[in-house]
């Protein structure tokens, strides 16, 4: 009744694509989060006036479509003779894109910690850094987590656009199979299911952490 030309080899090919999607996402989310925390803290600390140039730059990364950023980024590295491969270029562009969104999440998280709570910490003799480390970071993380999970899931799907730089990630792998086997619906269904399987643990991790923290809040 159901007949397909899809072989185990093709499935392995898809799995390889999924691996590439995971790798690009992992790089972007890791580097983007580190940079995002840095930018977010800077923006919060020096205030809207002095951080205006940084805010403007991050706004560019947030508003220009990712596809354009990837193409321009690739052109830039080529003109500047940086010699970056497709993976490096994709990683750098996606990281900056992620950092721009993450900075806002971090800034919002820090703002959510009441000034009076931070005052109480400082009045006990804690330094700025100790206040950040032991009071602000844990409280801001709780507030920011749902948005950060959303960002991670978004970046995982957006990472499909790196196929334009020639990387064979999950969506590109599916396209190749569709072209060869002419079974678009079936293959895209599998591709969608794999995206779901990749995202599900991340979403569940968020739910788990929220639940674990909630009785204390």
């Amino acid at each position: 009744m159901f007949d397909t030309a899809l072989t185990w080899n093709d499935l392995a090919f898809l799995a390889q694509g999924a691996g590439m999607t995971l790798a690009v996402t992992a790089v972007a989310v890791t580097a983007g989060t580190v940079l995002g925390i840095l930018f977010g803290v800077i923006r919060f600390q020096i205030g809207p006036y002095w951080s205006a140039p940084l805010t403007l730059l991050l706004d560019v990364f947030r508003s220009v479509p990712l596809l354009i950023q990837l193409v321009l980024g690739n052109a830039f590295q080529s003109i500047a003779k940086l010699g970056w491969g497709a993976f490096t270029t994709s990683g750098v562009v996606l990281s900056l894109y992620t950092a721009a969104f993450c900075a806002e999440i971090v800034r919002g998280g820090i703002s959510s910690v009441p000034v009076t709570t931070r005052r109480a910490a400082r009045s006990l003799g804690m330094t700025w850094w100790q206040d950040m480390r032991y009071i602000v970071a844990p409280l801001a993380t709780r507030v920011s987590l749902p948005s950060w999970i959303g960002l991670t899931l978004g970046v995982m799907k957006d990472s499909a656009l790196v196929l334009w730089l020639g990387l064979v990630e999950l969506l590109r792998a599916s396209q190749i199979l569709v072209t060869r086997l002419q079974e678009p619906l079936f293959i895209l269904l599998i591709c969608g299911a794999i995206y779901f399987l990749l995202s599900f643990p991340v979403a569940r991790l968020g739910g788990y952490l929220e639940k674990r923290w909630s009785p204390n809040d």
């Binding site: 009441p114 009076t116 709570t117 005052r119 109480a120 910490a121 400082r122 009045s123 006990l124 003799g125 804690m126 330094t127 100790q130 032991y134 009071i135 844990p138 409280l139 709780r142 923290w213 009785p215 204390n216 809040d217």
Partner: protein
């Protein structure tokens, strides 16, 4: 000894402290009373350097609080402050709330910090609540926890900023009893308060603030029985 000399402080165009002079000796309990906006709370936050001042000097045991060379984080170890809002750290248990600063600021071992925290929490009547998160406690209990948290740093001076103002009336007593206990133990305290009975019973001296000026200061008898300044008389008549 805390010496406050001609301290002035403005928030933009509003001058909230218009030249305050006050000396508090070791072991003394001074309460500050007065209407809202009289500058009482601002003075306390200036004393431990949370707010800068515009002119004048605040000197604690010979250290000028607002001098550039002063290490405020070090100074604050000996000047504890408790606020109107108790400001519990909501992600930490009661015990962890109290242990945090002794561990990280004083660098004590976990065991030593825990020993101090348990002692202070038992002292304020929270010995049974060590593993509880602050949000599971009443405002009065949280406020007593905040007092224990400040005491765990073994401060030589304690500043109390309207610590009962945000509490349900039925919870005020337990916090005031804690303050009384501290006063009897000889802690040097400056308390900003609206609790006149407390001010009369516990203070060595009572200061009345009016519009950024210390209008009158004296023993509780002088202030409550025979206030000299017409503004003091008016204020006391209004709160009775």
């Amino acid at each position: 000894m805390i010496e406050i000399e001609n301290v002035r402080k403005s928030f933009s165009s509003l001058e909230v402290l218009k030249g305050i002079d006050l000396t508090v000796e070791k072991g003394e309990v001074v309460t500050i009373i007065g209407g809202s906006g009289s500058g009482k709370s601002t003075l306390l936050t200036c004393i431990n350097g949370l707010e800068p001042i515009d002119s004048g000097r605040i000197v604690i045991d010979g250290t000028d609080v607002h001098a550039k060379s002063t290490d405020l984080n070090r100074l604050r170890r000996k000047v504890g402050i408790v606020f109107q809002q108790w400001n519990a750290f909501p992600h930490l248990t009661v015990l962890e709330n109290v242990m945090l600063a002794p561990r990280k600021v004083l660098g004590l071992s976990k065991d030593k910090a825990e020993e101090i925290a348990v002692k202070q929490l038992t002292h304020v009547g929270l010995g049974e609540k060590l593993k509880v998160y602050p949000n599971r406690m009443s405002g009065g209990q949280q406020q007593r926890m905040a007092i224990a948290r400040a005491l765990a740093m073994s401060p030589e001076y304690m500043l109390f900023d309207e610590v009962t103002s945000a509490l349900d009336p039925m919870l005020v007593g337990e916090v005031l009893d804690t303050l009384k206990m501290l006063a009897e133990e000889g802690m040097t305290m400056i308390c900003v308060t609206h609790e006149m009975t407390f001010a009369r019973d516990v203070s060595d001296r009572v200061a009345f603030f009016h519009q950024g000026i210390m209008a009158e200061i004296g023993t509780p008898d002088q202030i409550f029985a025979s206030p000299q300044n017409p503004e003091t008389q008016k204020f006391l008549a209004s709160v009775r």
